[in-house]
């Protein structure tokens, strides 16, 4: 229960902070950063978080399913631009993958 309380406490804090800064960064991301900071500062007991945190993050893929089902009612919005959407997304995703990995790998080697 401690872990569930902590997660919702930081989620709520993140949502509030998000409102304060005009929605620039979504509340769940701020909640994540706040929880991370609180663990580093020793305000939250990490050993009590493990079970719940690993359970809900292991099955993250499930949480995308209902949003994805939205495909059944959204096709009319982009029917004419399907090729542009598919090509741009695919090429750009591979570019992000390769560029991020390479910048990271080069910086690691450079540091040594």
């Amino acid at each position: 229960m401690y872990a569930i309380f902590v997660i919702f406490l930081f989620y709520a804090a993140g949502l509030l902070l998000s409102k304060v800064i005009g929605g620039l960064i979504p509340g769940n991301v701020l909640g994540m950063l706040l929880l991370f900071g609180a663990l580093l500062a020793g305000w939250v007991k990490p050993e009590k978080m493990r079970t719940v945190a690993s359970f809900i993050t292991t099955h993250m893929a499930l949480y995308f399913v209902p949003v994805g089902v939205g495909l059944m009612v959204t096709t009319r919005y982009f029917a004419g631009a399907t090729v542009a959407i598919v090509v741009a997304s695919a090429v750009s995703t591979v570019l992000v993958l390769v560029v991020t990995a390479w910048v990271q790998q080069i910086l690691e080697k450079w540091k040594r």
């Binding site: 930081f10 993250m60 399913v65 939205g70 090729v83 090509v87 997304s89 750009s92 995703t93």
Partner: protein, 232 residues
């Protein structure tokens, strides 16, 4: 059909329905090891098929599956703990990781914008695509803020997640990326939760770094979007 809409608007029924199909999809994926049978993609298509055949309204399904949607928020918050577990590794590489994700985010926004425009997409579609590598809850916020179509963003983000999870390891192998940190970082930055689910299968380091990069990519993209849009 009215009776079917009522059944699917019932949360216990739809939760069992979605989780059951998801578990079956996971079992199928584990048995076949085929990337194209990624559980998210399979479950999505099976559910759409069932709803279509039974003539269920999407709104009724939304109502019934609300709790699963809701879990997306707390699960992102819980990533803060996953992050903490790898804290020493992260501390040592924090500067390089922030640099790599920021460059990746910039390349992502600029490339998807230029390619989509070149292929004739209108600005609403372009705005919907710009946060494509960002996790759904953040991506929806960004899309809405800059005049995109959130439902389109939701679908593109999910498909990008599946696509990245499928092609990611292959592309990383082909381009000679061996660093576990670089591999995890690239999977999460390009394909958020989808990429992370695959990175967890690669190993503990890759999984944790990938989970971290979902957050970094979300923050980087949310901050870079207003700047990039000034120049594009």
């Amino acid at each position: 059909m009215e009776a079917m809409n009522e059944l699917f608007a019932l949360q216990p029924f739809t939760l069992a329905f979605v989780i059951g199909i998801y578990l079956a999809s996971v079992a199928l994926y584990r048995r076949t090891r085929l990337g194209l049978l990624h559980p998210v993609l399979t479950s999505m298509l099976v559910i759409i098929g069932v709803l279509y055949v039974l003539d269920v309204d999407y709104e009724a399904f939304r109502q019934g599956s609300f709790l699963i949607d809701f879990m997306l928020g707390p699960s992102v918050v819980a990533l803060g703990y996953v992050l903490y577990e790898q804290v020493r590794l992260i501390r040592r590489h924090l500067v390089s990781m922030l640099t790599a994700v920021s460059v990746g985010s910039l390349v992502g926004i600029v490339s998807v914008t230029l390619i989509a425009r070149w292929l004739g997409a209108d600005e609403q579609v372009v705005s919907s695509l710009q946060p494509k590598s960002v996790t759904t809850p953040i991506a929806l916020g960004i899309s809405e803020r800059f005049g995109g179509i959130p439902p389109l963003t939701a679908v593109v983000v999910v498909v990008v997640g599946v696509f990245g999870a499928v092609v990611g390891p292959f592309v990383l192998d082909k381009t000679g990326v061996r660093s576990k940190i670089a591999r995890g970082l690239a999977m999460g930055s390009s394909a958020h939760g989808g990429g992370t689910s695959r990175a967890i299968e690669m190993g503990a380091v890759e999984g944790a770094i990938s989970g971290l990069s979902i957050g970094l990519m979300g923050v980087a993209t949310a901050l870079l979007m207003p700047l990039v849009r000034l120049f594009l």
